[in-house]
């Protein structure tokens, strides 16, 4: 069995004394799309932000337990390294408004002072935008600022920016909840292709989306990882009553 790309062992997260993520044990295999779903406040976003160590930037936020990226402890390395290997796409598209589309895509290199030749930069920009299904739409205005892009296009730009860094894992925090249905489905289609090169972890409060896009689904409830299984099984025959209640909408 191939080593999982992300593995958590007895992982907990706190906001001060508030125990928000309780004892999570999970293994996420490579080149899969994993959906993390659950009702509001169940700890799914907090858990996601623990993976790339954004959680600890909040005042009073702490965590303990093991979080392994390809066997290496994420909390043992410098947070910058962790974030270079783990990309993130947020709920609201947030391309850098003062940079052109081109500069946005290579922002991870440019702003970090990582030197690249022009040919390398051009290549990275074209590859990333192609993988994000945006190249054809913007190739003629690539040096313009991205303000004319629609919400869905901006989000794809953010995805391109994240994958330009060639991360091991791509975290997506409710990536389509701010978008209209057509943009949403175009980005969901993107996931099927992105899976081939990256591992995706998608937090979503829309369980139909979880059903459509993921190979495996994790169901969080009140901070606990209640069930984690193949998506097909989760949605046809879940093992835990809480999962079944959530999926069938029987939560009061």
């Amino acid at each position: 069995m191939e080593r999982p790309v992300i593995k958590s062992v007895n992982f907990n997260a706190f906001f001060g004394t508030n125990h928000v993520v309780k004892n999570v044990n999970i293994e996420i295999p490579k080149h899969n799309a994993i959906a993390v779903m659950g009702p509001s406040g169940c700890g799914k976003t907090t858990y996601l932000r623990c993976i790339n160590r954004l959680h600890e930037l909040t005042d009073g936020a702490t965590s303990n337990g093991e979080m392994l990226l390809n066997g290496e402890e994420v909390y043992g390395m410098h947070p910058i390294f962790a974030r270079l290997k783990i990309g993130m796409v947020f709920q609201r598209p947030n391309p850098f408004p003062n940079l052109s589309i081109y500069d946005n895509v290579i922002a991870g290199y440019k702003l970090n002072g990582l030197k690249l030749s022009k040919a390398e930069k051009d290549n990275i920009v074209e590859q990333s935008l192609t993988k994000a299904a945006l190249w054809n739409e913007v190739k003629d205005s690539i040096h313009k600022k991205g303000t004319f892009l629609s919400g869905g296009q901006q989000q794809r730009l953010c995805i391109a920016r994240a994958i330009a860094m060639e991360p091991e894992v791509l975290l997506l925090d409710e990536p389509t909840s701010a978008l209209d249905p057509i943009s949403t489905s175009s980005i969901e289609e993107l996931f099927h292709d992105l899976k081939k090169n990256y591992t995706l972890i998608v937090v979503t409060h829309n369980m139909q989306q979880a059903a459509r896009v993921s190979d495996k689904t994790a169901f969080f409830y009140m901070g606990e990882l209640v069930e984690y299984d193949d998506t097909k099984t989760m949605f046809t025959n879940p093992k835990d009553t809480r999962t079944q209640n959530y999926i069938t909408g029987r939560f009061s």
Partner: protein, 282 residues
């Protein structure tokens, strides 16, 4: 019954509208009056001699204000060099640290500083920089003006940066940027327009300040480039000449007033334009 009520309310609404517009108009009147009057008096006094010669002794015709013109420019320039870096970085610090003790006391100090009378600042700088060194100097004048610039710079930088959404910072951090790079290369560039307008506004504010320069730069009848020695400036010139009994000097004062006014107006207009041009659509 109903009809009457509505008519009354419509009439009331209309009359209040008219009053508001009228009052806004009244505000513009004094400004227009000042500008027009100074233009009228000063426009005829400005010529090439005016701009390039130093003042002549009393009684002699001719003479100009070149020493005050250059003096003002140098004093303001040096003040900017001192105040801008300090102001912007303090503004950055305050926008990033909302709760620390240092932030609390800094903010308090900035608020108080904003209210200190300019002449008091002048006196304080006199005791710090003029007395110990035994000489008036334009550097001490710049120091006093810099102290006056700080509150505006710090405030506008802080407010501009606070308006930038947190999501941009997160985006930068998630890309693996170290914190200081996120601030300097992502947040600050987005706020350039606001910061720039703060800079220009602070310059406009101190360009015409007289009181702090009274005991620091002091004034100089001759053209001087030495910042460690006394230097003349436009406000000082106006202060001295306007109250003098000599007509020649009155003329010089009117011309200087016009130049000062125009400069401040231009700076304000430039602020508006830069805000639009450099504005980053968030």
């Amino acid at each position: 019954m109903r009809n009457v009520n509505i008519k009354y309310r419509v009439a009331k609404s209309k009359s209040i509208q008219i009053i508001i517009v009228l009052l806004a108009f009244i505000v513009i009147l004094p400004l227009l009056a000042i500008i027009l009057y100074i233009f009228k008096e000063g426009a005829t006094k400005i010529n090439w001699t005016f701009l390039t010669k130093i003042p002549k002794p009393v009684g002699e015709a001719g003479g100009g204000i070149v020493n005050a013109l250059l003096g003002s420019a140098i004093i303001v320039f040096v003040a900017s060099i001192i105040a801008i870096p300090i102001g912007i970085f303090t503004g950055i610090y305050l926008s990033e640290n909302k709760t620390s003790k240092l932030a609390y006391w800094s903010r308090l100090s900035v608020d108080i500083l904003q209210g200190v009378p300019s002449i008091v600042i002048g006196i304080v700088v006199y005791f710090w920089l003029v007395k110990p060194f035994g000489t008036f100097s334009s550097l001490s004048g710049s120091a006093a003006l810099a102290i006056m610039m700080l509150p505006i710079l710090i405030r506008s930088t802080e407010e501009t940066l606070k308006m930038i959404p947190f999501s941009l910072k997160e985006a930068g951090l998630a890309l693996g940027l170290p914190y200081h790079k996120v601030i300097l290369k992502v947040i600050v560039p987005c706020g350039v327009s606001g910061i720039l307008s703060g800079v220009i506004l602070s310059i406009a504010r101190i360009a015409g300040e007289t009181a702090p320069l009274l005991f620091t730069a002091f004034g100089n009848p001759y053209l001087s480039y030495n910042i460690l020695k006394p230097m003349h400036s436009l406000p000082l010139l106006i202060f001295n000449y306007a109250t003098s009994p000599y007509d020649d000097w009155h003329n010089l004062a009117w011309g200087a007033a016009l130049i000062l006014l125009t400069t401040v107006l231009l700076l304000n207009i430039i602020t508006k334009l830069t805000t639009k041009r450099w504005n980053v659509q968030l």
